[in-house]
């Protein structure tokens, strides 16, 4: 009887040892993955930082202004081109232009190229 119990315990112990070994092994693999992923996250963070730096390098106001002058037929907005809605009469709407605005640039929406 005692022998049977002992054999059972020994077998149980071996089974447990195997399971524990297995779990530990998996845990170690997962640990390695965590380290690798953390490194990957850090790398990605760094490349995001580099890309953001590059983005703002490419969006420097001086560069945008230079490109706008080269490729866009826009010019800085003139005060004459801005009117307050309340000052526009129905008559102006029908004509499609406002008296204060001077002739050439009334149709295209003009944006300040300097910003």
């Amino acid at each position: 009887m005692l022998r049977f119990v002992n054999i059972c315990l020994v077998l149980g112990l071996m089974a447990l040892a195997y399971v524990i070994y297995q779990v530990k092994y998996e845990a170690r693999v997962l640990d390695e993955q965590i380290v690798a992923l953390n490194k990957h996250i850090d790398d990605e963070r760094d490349s995001i930082a580099v890309l953001r730096a590059e983005w703002s390098l490419l969006n420097r106001p001086e560069r945008i202004e230079r490109l706008a002058k080269k490729y866009l037929k826009l010019e800085p907005v003139r005060p004459q081109q801005l009117v307050i809605l309340d000052e526009v009469t129905d008559h102006d709407f029908e004509r499609g232009s406002v008296p204060e605005a001077s002739a050439p640039a009334t149709t295209a929406p003009v944006k300040a190229a300097s910003n």
Binding site: E54, P79, L82
Partner: protein, 527 residues
């Protein structure tokens, strides 16, 4: 007994095994990927979230002399890849021994792979953070710069190190970078710097400086001082000539001081805009003579003293106030003590050693008291915002907060009268060329003679224009200063502020008005 002994031994061994198990997990689970020996700094953003400074990772090359086989060969091979490395110096340091010799910082990936290809034992890399300023010199005097170990040396960079609580995770970026937002507007800053550069070149000035401030919140939207430096090349910042003149240079600012003199007599109730001052003859006092540059030789009203920039009139106003009240008034506006901002305290103003009658007379038109331009701008805020002294700041603040934190120093009526004559001065006075169509600029010119070899020189001038727009609803203050502009053909041989500093302000306002969303009004242009 033996049984108990065995039991204790088993428990001890078992416990130790369990603790080993935990320790092992703890060690590998901690796996923090520590790449850096330098400090990781927060990004600096402008008020609209545009990046002004950020950290990127770079490799640092080092050698471990214990593992190096041939010092001479290694030094020469490294120098073949990195020409800036001094061979003799490196060889000496390698032979001195130790475990760590830093060879070069901030290597590019190409250089890094070339070093790998040398196949030399004893070489290694550590990764460090490196500060980059994508906008270069554009905002250099405000943002400041860092040393090789990524510690803040000047400007906002230094302020961040002293106040780590400013740093917060940005809600705008998904990866949640640490950021610090400042009050600068990159668009306005760029325009200010570019126009100053053009002015410096056109008028052949030695230096130029300028600032744009919000009159209610006290925020500095742009601040430039030329010549400046590119913070990506930190050695440039050592040059004394590139100092931040706005904050650390003191100057006798000249006639812009009449703003304070006129505001003084108005606020003390000593005069109205129509009170007359006799400016027929120059004032002789103690061996000095006070002349008028634009001499009219008649009696002038307060408003006329201002728009014709009469030194005689201003001197008489100061005498009317008296030495004590004049000094107290300037003190109340903060002109006699350094102004403290996030960039540190400004240079201390230079006061006359004995403030006497003559000093009061000359300070009335801006000679005899040296202040920093930023201080001049800050002291003008109450004159144009309804009388409230606001602390200038480089951190974002709403107009309501600015007004609530400030304190009343002037009557609102003084401020209204000053805005009126500042506008008048641009419509028909010395500041005509500062007009920006539709933006109702008001301002005051200042042409000061610099002291050369102990006496005032009429060829070395310091010109400035102090302005506010729009005058019917004041929002922004613009100050421009040019150091020694020359009599060039473009200004028909004049070198006074009305010909150089004033038109520069006009150009700046015309460009920043739309950026800042100021509604232009053409019908009040002539008001």
């Amino acid at each position: 007994m033996a049984c108990l002994g065995f039991a204790i031994a088993f428990v001890l061994i078992g416990g130790r095994l369990v603790s080993f198990g935990f320790a092992a997990t703890g060690k590998s689970g901690g796996g923090a990927y520590d790449i850096s020996t330098t400090i990781h700094r927060p990004d600096i953003l402008d008020r609209h979230g545009r990046l002004l400074a950020t950290d990127i990772r770079g490799a640092t090359l080092y050698a471990d002399p214990k593992k190096v086989i041939d010092c001479d060969e290694l030094a020469e091979q490294v120098a073949s890849v990195l020409p800036e490395v001094n061979v003799d110096n490196l060889r000496k340091r390698l032979k001195a021994g130790g475990r760590f010799v830093r060879i070069a910082r901030e290597l590019t990936p190409t250089q890094q792979s070339e070093i790998y290809e040398l196949g030399q034992p004893g070489l290694g890399f550590i990764e460090e953070y490196r500060r980059v300023y994508p906008v270069g010199a554009t905002a250099s005097h405000v943002v400041g710069l860092v040393d090789v170990d990524n510690r803040g040396l000047s400007g906002i960079e230094k302020f961040i190190d002293e106040n780590p609580q400013l740093t917060m995770a940005s809600p705008e970026t998904p990866s949640g970078e640490d950021t610090v937002t400042i009050s600068l507007d990159l668009g306005v800053q760029y325009v200010l710097r570019e126009e100053l550069m053009k002015a410096k070149k056109t008028f052949e000035a030695k230096a130029a400086a300028g600032v744009v401030m919000d009159v209610h919140s006290g925020e500095v939207l742009a601040l430039a001082s030329l010549p400046d430096y590119d913070p990506n090349h930190r050695e440039q910042a050592l040059d004394k000539n590139r100092l931040n003149r706005m904050v650390f240079g003191t100057y006798e600012m000249g006639s812009v001081f009449k703003v304070f003199t006129v505001a003084g007599v108005l606020d003390l109730g000593l005069a109205s805009l129509n009170t007359r001052y006799d400016a027929t003859n120059p004032i002789h006092y103690g061996g000095f003579t006070i002349h008028d540059f634009h001499g009219l030789h008649r009696s002038l009203t307060t408003a006329e003293v201002f728009i014709h920039s009469s030194n005689i009139g201003a001197a008489k106003m100061a005498l009317q106030m008296g030495i004590d009240r004049h000094r107290a008034f300037l003190k109340k506006l903060g002109l006699l003590t350094p102004v403290t901002t996030e960039l540190g305290p400004s240079a201390a103003p230079i006061l006359p050693p004995h403030w006497e009658k003559l000093n009061t007379m000359t300070i009335a038109f801006g000679h005899g008291l040296s202040v920093t331009p930023l201080q001049l701008a800050a002291s003008t805020l109450p004159i144009v915002n309804g009388g409230i002294a606001v602390q200038p700041t480089f951190l974002p603040r709403t107009r309501e907060e600015g007004m609530a934190e400030g304190h009343h120093v002037l009557k609102a009526s003084t401020s209204a009268a000053m805005l009126k004559i500042m506008r008048m001065n641009v419509v028909k006075g010395t500041g005509r060329r500062a007009n920006a169509e539709g933006y109702r600029v008001g301002g005051k010119t200042g042409t000061a003679e610099k002291v050369v070899h102990g006496r005032y020189s009429n060829s070395a001038l310091l010109t400035s224009f102090l302005s506010v727009f729009p005058t019917d609803d004041p929002q922004y203050l613009v100050l421009v200063m040019l150091d020694e502009p020359q009599r060039v053909a473009a200004t028909r041989g004049y070198a006074t502020a009305g010909w150089n500093a004033a038109p520069t302000v006009g150009k700046i306002v015309a460009r920043i008005g739309p950026i800042l969303g100021v509604q232009p009004k053409l019908d009040v242009a002539a008001r």
